[in-house]
């Protein structure tokens, strides 16, 4: 467990951004003090444009640090050669790989580049690492497949396998689940978690998908234009209101109770919802869609109780001391709309 705690990547007062012509530089975020430990999966979360890619590229040594330091183990990244960095740290980028005429195996084998000789010939050890990477990502059925004939999800897995083959302590992934459908997304995240925990790698992935980050991350780095980067275990960040605070500024409405954004415009009315777990969960969704703010304890004008009775669902409503019963969500919603 001691090894798990080792800090593999950390920053001190890091300022990230771009150099512009004439020495001027554009800062995207500053005063970043963060640390990635081995064996943990960190989700870097933030809205588009908050600097997630910039941070990942700076950590990977692809962009210069404007101020501060990035430490990879005991070394300052800017002192290391690209080859040396590649021994410690591998990256999966958003750059689309569109080439073909290359097998999955060949592409994964490219990951051995930092270790191979001037021509890139694979040694026995290299081959073993490549095979291991392919097996770990469950790609053994695709070994001979041309990469132009892979689905997006498969291709992303190949790129991850390539990073694995690079045999580094740190893997950075920039938006690895973008453009993927739900099953693929889940599969990738599951794979990354497993890798982090089983192989002791420190994995940092950036995403703008909140629920994914909340569910997957051992910790979350929340990027935010005003306060810089906030770090913590997801649930802590939810409970201490950090999420709510950060996202409210973006005219989002983060719901602490559900851990998700409210995408619906509120109509200003409140409903008290009680009842059995399953019908309450779904009723809540329907009501939120209709723009109601939900509470469970309050004494609102409208009160709804959702119950399961003999294998079917029933909704008991009370508004202005008028009681009614509904047997479908559709009927309930129709009633609510008429009340407005």
């Amino acid at each position: 467990m001691e090894q798990q705690m080792q800090k593999v990547l950390s920053t001190q007062d890091l300022k990230i951004g771009y150099h512009r012509k004439g020495g001027e530089s554009i800062s995207v975020a500053k005063n970043l003090n963060i640390g990635l430990r081995s064996g943990e999966l960190i989700c870097l979360l933030g809205p588009n444009g908050s600097g997630k890619s910039t941070l990942i590229k700076t950590l990977a040594g692809m962009l210069p640090q404007l101020e501060g330091e990035v430490q990879l183990f005991e070394n300052n990244v800017s002192d290391l050669s690209a080859k040396k960095i590649a021994h410690y740290l591998s990256t999966v980028l958003t750059d689309r790989v569109t080439i073909g005429n290359l097998s999955v195996y060949q592409l994964v084998a490219f990951g051995r580049s930092p270790y191979t000789g001037w021509l890139g010939s694979l040694s026995r050890e290299d081959e073993e690492k490549v095979r291991w990477a392919i097996e770990s990502t469950g790609l053994h059925d695709f070994v001979h497949r041309d990469i132009s004939r892979l689905s997006d999800g498969e291709r992303q897995k190949v790129m991850i396998a390539r990073a694995l083959a690079q045999d580094t302590s740190v893997i950075l992934l920039d938006e690895p689940t973008a453009h993927l459908d739900l099953p693929n997304r889940v599969e990738i995240i599951r794979l990354l978690r497993k890798l982090a925990h089983e192989t002791g790698k420190g994995i940092l992935l950036s995403t703008h998908e909140l629920d994914l980050a909340l569910k997957a991350g051992d910790r979350i780095w929340l990027m935010n234009r005003e306060q810089g980067l906030l770090s913590g275990v997801p649930e802590d960040l939810v409970l201490d209101g950090t999420f709510e605070h950060v996202f409210r500024q973006d005219s989002f409405d983060f719901d602490r109770e559900t851990g998700s954004f409210n995408i619906h415009q509120l109509n200003g009315k409140e409903v008290t919802l009680t009842g059995d777990t399953v019908p309450v969960f779904w009723t809540r969704r329907a009501l939120e869609r209709e723009g109601y703010r939900i509470n469970e304890t309050g004494k609102s004008d409208i009160r709804i109780e959702a119950k399961k009775v003999d294998g079917s669902y029933i909704w008991l409503t009370r508004a202005s001391d008028q009681k009614e019963e509904f047997y479908s969500m559709e009927a309930l919603i129709k009633w609510l709309r008429n009340k407005r």
Partner: protein, 390 residues
């Protein structure tokens, strides 16, 4: 794997190297040092009087021919040692090409080369001709038809056929610099490459005098002297007659192409003819020896008042000229009918004798021009190269 991928590249290079070594010829010998045998004397010698592009000197059993660069201070640019076949030299030359004389067979690359041999009654030496379709000379055309003369198509010079023919000499015009590499191969194989830069001469007589060079190559100096002397005498006689006339009619020449009108420069070969024939020319003051690119407007203005219009492209009639551009009907020469073209003697396949024998017979050409510009000098003259465009 590194080891596995290597030998094939090596193999390839070995193959390449093998191939290269097959043709690795020694570089051409610049130095000649062979012992003497006999030394024939050269009784009749030629000497350049008008031409600026060559010099020839006679030494024991060889002639030293220098092709000069008439545009720069540099004296000699290219040296040929002409030595008798079956004799050897006792002098060492660096930077000289040896040509054995008399030349028995040659490939001509320009119709003017035919004119040179024709003047020396030596058409028989021509065994190959590049651009044969432009030859006018009936004897040469006959030879081409009977396949005694090999026809080389224009474009890249076919070295294989030339090598198989193995002529003594290939006569090349100096302008085709892009093809010099082609000729090198022939030189390396022992075929003489002679650079004929007669076209760089700026005077008609200078150009015609290159017949003497041909004479030296064929050991026909006596005939060359005799023929050229006649030409020069006649040319100078005509020229001196013109000097007495007072009025000099204004002349324009050529046709525009896509808005650009190439006229002859003031020091050009054509301008020299115009001077000698007693013409006035708008660009005499220009020092260019080549053509001048003028816009249509500039020449049009001159054309409106010019009395004579020479060489309007390939036109055979006034209608053809008008078909090119309606505006030509405003030209004074068009109204008076004073338009002359040099295409009276055309071969069936497009050869024009003006460019062929005209090179060695400037006196005929001058006589034609004088007849156009000052008909009173030789009223009985009939056109040789020129014809009036009706």
């Amino acid at each position: 794997m590194t080891l596995q991928s290597f030998p094939y590249r090596y193999l390839l290079f070995v193959v390449l190297c093998f191939v290269l070594s097959c043709n690795a010829e020694e570089s051409p010998k610049d130095d000649i040092s062979i012992r003497v045998s006999s030394s024939p004397d050269f009784q009749v010698r030629v000497e350049a009087e008008y031409a600026e592009g060559f010099q020839i000197s006679y030494h024991g059993n060889y002639k030293l021919l220098k092709i000069l660069n008439p545009f720069q201070d540099q004296t000699d640019t290219l040296q040929y040692v002409l030595k008798h076949r079956n004799t050897s030299l006792d002098t060492t030359f660096s930077n000289a090409q040896i040509i054995e004389i008399p030349v028995r067979s040659m490939i001509a690359t320009s119709t003017t080369h035919i004119a040179l041999t024709d003047m020396l009654n030596a058409n028989g030496v021509i065994k190959g001709m590049v651009g044969a379709e432009y030859a006018y000379n009936p004897a040469i055309r006959e030879g081409l038809k009977d396949e005694e003369i090999t026809s080389f198509p224009s474009g890249e010079f076919n070295k294989e056929v030339a090598l198989a023919m193995n002529p003594d000499l290939v006569m090349v015009s100096a302008g085709q610099s892009s093809q010099f590499d082609d000729y090198r191969v022939l030189m390396d194989s022992g075929i003489g490459i002679f650079i004929n830069s007669e076209w760089l001469e700026t005077t008609p007589l200078g150009k015609a005098e290159w017949v003497k060079v041909m004479g030296a190559l064929l050991n026909k100096e006596e005939l060359a002297n005799k023929k050229f002397e006649k030409v020069a005498e006649e040319y100078n006689r005509l020229k001196s007659k013109v000097q007495k006339v007072s009025a000099q009619p204004l002349v324009i020449n050529n046709l525009p192409y896509k808005g650009a009108w190439f006229v002859s420069g003031g020091d050009s070969f054509t301008a020299q003819y115009l001077k000698d024939a007693g013409a006035d020319y708008a660009w005499f003051g220009n020092g260019s020896t080549g053509g001048l690119r003028k816009d249509f407007e500039t020449v049009y203005e001159v054309g409106l008042r010019a009395e004579v219009w020479l060489n309007p492209g390939a036109a055979q009639s006034k209608e053809e000229i008008l078909a090119k551009d309606e505006r030509f009907k405003d030209f004074k020469s068009f109204k008076t009918g004073q338009i002359y073209n040099n295409n009276k003697r055309m071969g069936p396949t497009g050869g024009n004798d003006f460019w062929e024998s005209g090179a060695v017979h400037p006196e005929r050409l001058l006589a034609d021009l004088i007849h156009i510009l000052h008909p009173e000098i030789q009223p009985e003259h009939t056109f040789y190269y020129y014809q009036k465009i009706e």
